[in-house]
């Protein structure tokens, strides 16, 4: 069963994208969706990461690899969250 933080991160991504990508209806923003098919470019991904940092207080390293899917992005955020929790 997904952790609350995972659900919150997905909701944050959905909420962010619905105001920025015309074709990204919430039901399309699922873990299997690729960032390309959702119309997320590299600038938008940085905006999304900044939004995540502002909302959670967690710092995302600038050298994280570019994710291909929403699921990969969620996993990256989950890993960063757990790494910073253990520090």
């Amino acid at each position: 069963m997904p952790h609350d933080n995972d659900m919150n991160d997905l909701a944050l991504i959905q909420n962010f994208l619905k105001d920025r990508v015309a074709s990204a209806s919430v039901d399309k923003i699922v873990p299997d969706a690729t960032l390309t098919e959702l119309g997320i470019d590299s600038l938008m991904l940085v905006e999304l990461i900044f939004e995540f940092e502002d909302k959670t207080g967690i710092t995302v390293p600038s050298d994280i690899p570019l994710p291909n899917t929403v699921g990969e992005l969620l996993q990256q955020l989950k890993d960063i969250r757990s790494q910073q929790a253990t520090k």
Binding site: K18, D19, R20, L43, V46, E47, F50
Partner: protein, 416 residues
């Protein structure tokens, strides 16, 4: 080689009076209605209220949709919204995908709101980072690029930053490209969003802004008046579709008027103080370029902003070029109503001049009951416009800081 003629076939603007279209805007201008109001600036570190023209009713999210609106500064909101409106007015296909169509846009300071917001974030909120979109929101050419993307315009995509003459330079340079055959159609105009605390304080420091309160703000801008006391800042945007005359006829487009000539000079004397010699050369250059005789000009939309020095110098420039005809030459300064939107102003004034020719009507200078002695010598149209009068040809003057002068000459369809 025979030069091509250039037709104006589409008009659009951010109406400072509210939701109405360009005809509603022009009707209000003809009635001498001022859009100036006493505004209290929001999000300012100290209280700041002054006479301004703010397009407060304009909702970019509603007009453009959230994805597009969130990817742009306010000056680009004005640009794309007015461009879409002009495009629709012209009857062209929604997305053209044409490489012989282009954009030529004017703005004085582009995304200055984005820059100011970034400074607030860094210096006052003590954050380490700004929006990753800061550069692409703030850059002056972002408005033109967004217009090109929205309308599918693959030809030249040009931005002119020439202070208060930005839009007339943008229109004039596009006019030349069409006339010479480099392109067939250009979306032209300008936009400005200068109503931020930092920008207004900078203008106040120059001591050129008109003062006022809630009861007097409506009449704050009084060009040519004996008691004129400074300009009134405004935000906004206006767009025109201009195209090769034969191209317009072939698609059975409505032609509002013809752009007939363009004059562009530099005073080469002072960074802020205007020079009558440079202005007169620009007016004469526009007349020569158009082939129009001074006696054929029935109306001049003046640049005058309501400053003590600038207004008198422009009248002197007009008298220098027109000689005895100046006394019969109808002149008005419509900034008395729509304010001074800096890089967007000359696009709004080009639109007004176009409609003056289309409707054979001359708009007024509002708020003036007594002409200053130093501004006498032309036929001032005051308080209310004149309807049903012959307007064969007209000029729109734009004289900018930096000593940059741009004058556009227009000819009515009926007289061409």
């Amino acid at each position: 080689m025979k030069k091509r003629r250039v037709a104006i076939t589409g008009l659009g603007l951010i109406n400072p009076y509210g939701e109405g279209d360009v005809e509603d805007f022009f009707a209000r201008i003809m009635r001498g209605e001022s859009a100036v109001r006493y505004h209290t600036l929001s999000n300012s570190p100290r209280p700041l209220a002054l006479p301004l023209v703010a397009c407060s009713h304009f909702n970019p999210i509603a007009v453009l949709g959230p994805p597009l609106a969130n990817a742009m500064d306010r000056f680009s909101h004005f640009a794309v919204a007015s461009a879409l409106s002009a495009w629709q007015d012209s009857g062209l296909a929604k997305h053209s995908n044409r490489d012989d169509y282009g954009v030529s846009w004017g703005t004085g300071s582009g995304g200055s709101l984005t820059i100011e917001r970034g400074y607030q974030t860094l210096y006052f909120e003590n954050k380490e980072k700004v929006s990753p979109l800061s550069i692409v929101l703030a850059m002056n050419n972002s408005a033109a690029s967004h217009i090109a993307m929205q309308l599918g315009l693959g030809g030249p995509c040009i931005t002119s930053t020439v202070a208060c003459a930005s839009s007339s330079v943008a229109i004039g340079e596009a006019f030349r490209r069409i006339r010479e055959g480099a392109v067939n159609l250009m979306l032209v105009g300008g936009s400005e969003a200068p109503l931020s605390y930092g920008v207004i304080r900078a203008w106040q420091a120059m001591r050129v802004l008109s003062e006022g309160d809630a009861t007097t703000a409506y009449r704050a801008c009084r060009p040519f008046s004996a008691n004129r006391a400074g300009l009134t800042l405004a935000e906004g945007g206006a767009a025109l579709v201009i195209e090769d005359w034969e191209h317009a006829l072939a698609r059975n487009a409505r032609i509002y008027a013809e752009i007939a000539g363009y004059g562009n000079t530099c005073d080469r004397t002072h960074i802020a103080r205007p020079d009558s010699g440079g202005q007169a050369r620009a007016i004469a250059a526009a007349l020569a370029d158009s082939g129009l005789h001074p006696h054929e000009i029935d109306y001049v939309n003046a640049h005058d902003t309501s400053t003590v020095e600038g207004d008198a110098i422009e009248i002197q420039s007009i008298k220098t070029v027109f000689g005895e005809h100046a006394g019969k030459l109808a002149v008005s300064a419509t900034k008395s109503m729509h304010g001074h939107s800096l890089g967007a102003a000359s696009a709004i004034e080009a639109l007004i001049t176009t409609l003056a020719l289309y409707h054979q009507a001359i708009p007024p200078t509002a708020n003036v009951t007594e002409i200053g002695a130093d501004c006498a010598g032309v036929d001032h149209v005051l308080i209310k416009g004149r309807s049903n009068v012959p307007v064969r040809a007209a000029l729109s003057n734009s004289f900018a800081f930096g000593g940059s002068n741009a004058v556009l000459a227009f000819r009515s369809v009926t007289s061409s």
